[in-house]
Symmetry: C2
Amino acid sequence: MKQYELERVLPEEIEKRSFEIITQELGEKKLEPENELVIKRVIHTSADFEYADNLIFSPHAVEIALKAIKEGVQIITDTNMGKAGINKAALKRLNCAVDCYMADEDVAEYAKKNETTRACASMDKASNLPKDCIFAIGNAPTALVRLYELIKEGKIRPRLIIGVPVGFVNVVQSKEMILSLEGIPYIVARGRKGGSNVAAAIVNALLYQV
Amino acid sequence: MKQYELERVLPEEIEKRSFEIITQELGEKKLEPENELVIKRVIHTSADFEYADNLIFSPHAVEIALKAIKEGVQIITDTNMGKAGINKAALKRLNCAVDCYMADEDVAEYAKKNETTRACASMDKASNLPKDCIFAIGNAPTALVRLYELIKEGKIRPRLIIGVPVGFVNVVQSKEMILSLEGIPYIVARGRKGGSNVAAAIVNALLYQV
């Protein structure tokens, strides 16, 4: 086969075919059935099989998240890119919503006044919401650290934390802080890897199961 | 050190510190000086050092791209997520613009009428633009295949193709098609890896150099 001979797959079957390839290449690797679709969708979005080992789920995190989605939960992201990657039709169908406060003027002002980052200020803003939310953090470790503090102070109680920032400074540590929490559901990509695309893929994998 | 002891880095110095860590971990690895900032920013955005080997640059692709940016080039992405990841302040400062046609009604209609995908139809729409563009394709291999066809038919002449779709079906092949082109500047992530985040990181790395 010439390397650029295209595989004939109908557009609407590409995703199914991709998941077949992922399943095949995972081979004998055992995935927790409850977590399987999330793990496979993250591999689908990254072509990176390391996520089969990196993704850490608190007990019944998926089940708890699906319940929150059925109740029309609000999802907070730390980037507009993460927000853009979440399937809007699925959100609408499920009566859920997604917000990102990073570019809000009041967040910029609050951050300046309190000498903090906009990522932290976004989490403070979310702590004032009337209902508990799902947080999908794919970029800012400072957002995860602030969530951890707000939880410890009893000011916020996330329905789920998707903790998948990517990078080199305080990323590993911020995720370990979330992993140390008890009683808060989480899905965390242990280590340096992650990203807004991974955060969005996890949200979509949850939405598609409802 | 407890694993969640945070490194003290000022918010405005996190990126600098991240690049220092990347440089340090690349060690003796030789990068083409012209391509170095693009490669390092992709690693910064993915925490994946495979990109030090995966990213293939046509001769002087970066130099040619910087010239296009100085002239206020239009950038076309294949996802709104990719568009969302491109630094809007940098675009504005440089008089450049970014568009994504995927969600346009005329694109949906054209795709339906011509029994093609919206990704292909987006490229057809871009081929009617009055000026040559930079394409940043992080998701749809069909968009890359259509670009290849339009180039071969003499209907489009991109200033640069950023060819970094991610995935398992026709992704590798579509990138090899772009790599086979002569006289068209490209930056391609060979293999399965890539993504809208990678496409946006490459655009930003170019913008920041002007």
